[in-house]
Subunit: 515 residues, 2 copies
Amino acid sequence: MQRALNVTRADNFPEWYQAVVRDADMAENSPVRGCMVIKPWGYGVWELIQAELDRRIKATGHENCYFPLFVPLSFIAKEAEHVEGFAKEMAVVTHHRLKLIDGRLQPDPTAELEEPLIVRPTSETIIGDAFQRWIKSYRDLPLLINQWANVVRWEMRTRLFLRTSEFLWQEGHTAHADREDAMAETLRMLEVYRAFSEEVLAMPVVAGEKPENERFPGAENTFSIEAMMQDGKALQAGTSHYLGQNFAKAQNIRFQTDKEDLAFCHTTSWGVSTRMVGGVIMTHGDDDGLRLPPAIAPRQIVIVPMLRDKPEDVEVLAYCDALAADLLKGSAFGAPLRVLVDKKPIRSAEKRWNWVRRGAPLILEIGPRDAAGGQVTFMRRDQLRDGDRVRSQSEARDAFVQGAPRRLAEIQAALFAEAKARLADNIRTDIDTFEGLEAHFGAAVEDDEAGAAFKGWVRAGWSRPEGGELEGVVERLKALKLTLRNAPMDQGGGAARCIFTGRPAVEDILIARAY
Amino acid sequence: MQRALNVTRADNFPEWYQAVVRDADMAENSPVRGCMVIKPWGYGVWELIQAELDRRIKATGHENCYFPLFVPLSFIAKEAEHVEGFAKEMAVVTHHRLKLIDGRLQPDPTAELEEPLIVRPTSETIIGDAFQRWIKSYRDLPLLINQWANVVRWEMRTRLFLRTSEFLWQEGHTAHADREDAMAETLRMLEVYRAFSEEVLAMPVVAGEKPENERFPGAENTFSIEAMMQDGKALQAGTSHYLGQNFAKAQNIRFQTDKEDLAFCHTTSWGVSTRMVGGVIMTHGDDDGLRLPPAIAPRQIVIVPMLRDKPEDVEVLAYCDALAADLLKGSAFGAPLRVLVDKKPIRSAEKRWNWVRRGAPLILEIGPRDAAGGQVTFMRRDQLRDGDRVRSQSEARDAFVQGAPRRLAEIQAALFAEAKARLADNIRTDIDTFEGLEAHFGAAVEDDEAGAAFKGWVRAGWSRPEGGELEGVVERLKALKLTLRNAPMDQGGGAARCIFTGRPAVEDILIARAY
């Protein structure tokens, strides 16, 4: 069977992923190591993610700010002191001028910074510094701030959207009077992420708490949403941290209580990034390319006029333009429909496959017969194939226009249902020994890049081992290329015993290979 | 008279500007030299600027992308070669890791980059590199790209919003098949900026072409919009460049023409930045603080409940909430009204003055009498004073709700009219000798920071001197702290002779002190 991509998911999942990113025109590698160029179609998806998530972040009382790109080295040093396991791969600015020396442009030795600046890997310290200035009294609390920004973490092995040295994200930072309020905020934002992922990205997730070894350095509790990719691996798609008073103490973020004494704030932070776009690709893509949930499709309906360099082309184009104008009056997901008539001077068949690969939810092919008969011929991208054949449907023009918002909602729901079933069907709960885990996941694959068979996740009993015992667990899992994902919030009726320690389980935990 | 700020424009304009930025809670200096923290109220203004300008940029056919924060040094070196007067104050990344050495966290000497990276001061080179890959044929043209990003230019003397080492902007980059198309694009975007400034920021501008000495390095033509601040100085608020084939040749951006031969593209670039926010402040602010055009006010209507810790507070609050709910149903400038009931636990009078300083267009003070009588008591920020007294009006609740969108439009128009009159009245066209210029602007003020008297601009004849002759003109002007701003697009009936050379004038040019 002819497919729109030259590699399938089953053949080689990582290569398939790269092919989708490339052929859907989402992003590409740049000449700057580890940094990507996000192309219009990929950036369009990100803009829609931003717009809707921003709306939800504001609806929960947060305000946007902008903080400096650079963090003084001393701020980082202070954090490094109080945080173990602190990552040090960062971009370091040491000079502020270039100079032509011996005919070569280079950093000017006379313009070395007294204190190097770090390109923010995250903004806890620079925002904490502002909080310490802004917060005086309990009346200033809670302080609920969000920032949309680029951040840089030097990465050796990168993959477009999933792991890049520079990426785009939002980072929420909040300060509260007490633990209860801060923890409520942490969980509120976790729930915002869960609902956003499922409702907007059509990407089902499991929300839960990370085990100690997977916590954000300096956090008391780290929560995450985990999504199942089509290779069975887990993708951490968002995190929310309760930081206790750790950062407040390191940065002297104090407030006068209503009893007139001074207390340290309790802070939180939470973020999602362009990584989400990678999650969308690996959740919904198929062997013909990307399939975009209509809520985040930059173009939900693409009209391809079937032109033949003949006189009737004029009528076909006029018919397409009028159709687009009518469709643009409709709305879906709380916003006007996004419709395009693709008039690019290339062959119609090429256009069709371009839009298939890009995952436009509804692709219309309008020829002279449609124009004459008042018809619309279209493909639903989520139901592209009937066996090997491409499935094309016809409908009366007005019925199509009127039904378009409903049909987009159906596509959104269908993509979610498909992914939800995959998630639900592929979490094994019947494995209760480490040997069982070993048997299920098989010995460590030498190169798991090239498509280890689909194994899904295991949900098993967990006794919350700590310290050395936890390290032992992590090591044993590592040999199987497995990691602890999270202990789901939804804990009804879990396993009796811990799969690792044999002691009574306190909760269930998810175990999976992961990105 | 009691004012909401402790310094007036007449006393000391630069100090007044700083006071507005601080007291309107727009932004503050950060611990990182030259970088600002943009606070929620300031960032809210920027978000509204972004949203509406982005809409206009997309409506003219551009698509957003995202390119790397870093530019390899070799790219910059290549540009430096072909561009004279190339600025070299940039942030240079030389290391990718920190390491604890002798108890001190510092750049790891073993993690020095082979090639230093520059934090983008602008993205011509990195985007040009992508264009050179993306453009193959005339079918790919025009390529119309925009990017919203942070950029860094190391600055020694900084001023919040006006000149900061890091700032936020949008940069458009386009490629075209010929000069005509590229020039049309350059002027189209200049007009987008002009219309946006006047219609949305209520900031009148003069659009025109920069003289040779003020051109963007490497550009064939640079156009700008120039706004008149309340101290009479000019602020360049946006630029649009026709780059000819200069960048295309330096970066090998070629395409196959419809005649099958290879040709270099003609490119353009254009941008506006957070500097615009500074322009808004200096255009509309008064001695009580900021006055925001309603189109970019994060809150257009602020309701201050006059609470007295008495039982009737409950009714007042309920009345305010119901009023806000009704107002929120309305819309202005194509978007729902932005309304806030300020329930912060501080004194009502303090709230009033906070919102006056922040420039909320309509400030309501609702007490028990209003609630009981179905009234609204409000201030129009643009008409705050009647002589020395604060002017407060009352209106029946329903009439106020219904009239709110119209009233906001009136305020927008009034602010524009006021600024437009100031601009129109303060461009002298009757000065036709350099001696006249000297007499008008006076000898160079030693420290023009501390409020040189308002002088406005001069519009005079211009013969387009070049090379050494132009340098001479620039030097003579410099002694008067003056600069050439632009030759206005609108050139009807200009001066006969050049004010500098005495030769017949080709056009008029604007001369002014400037930011």
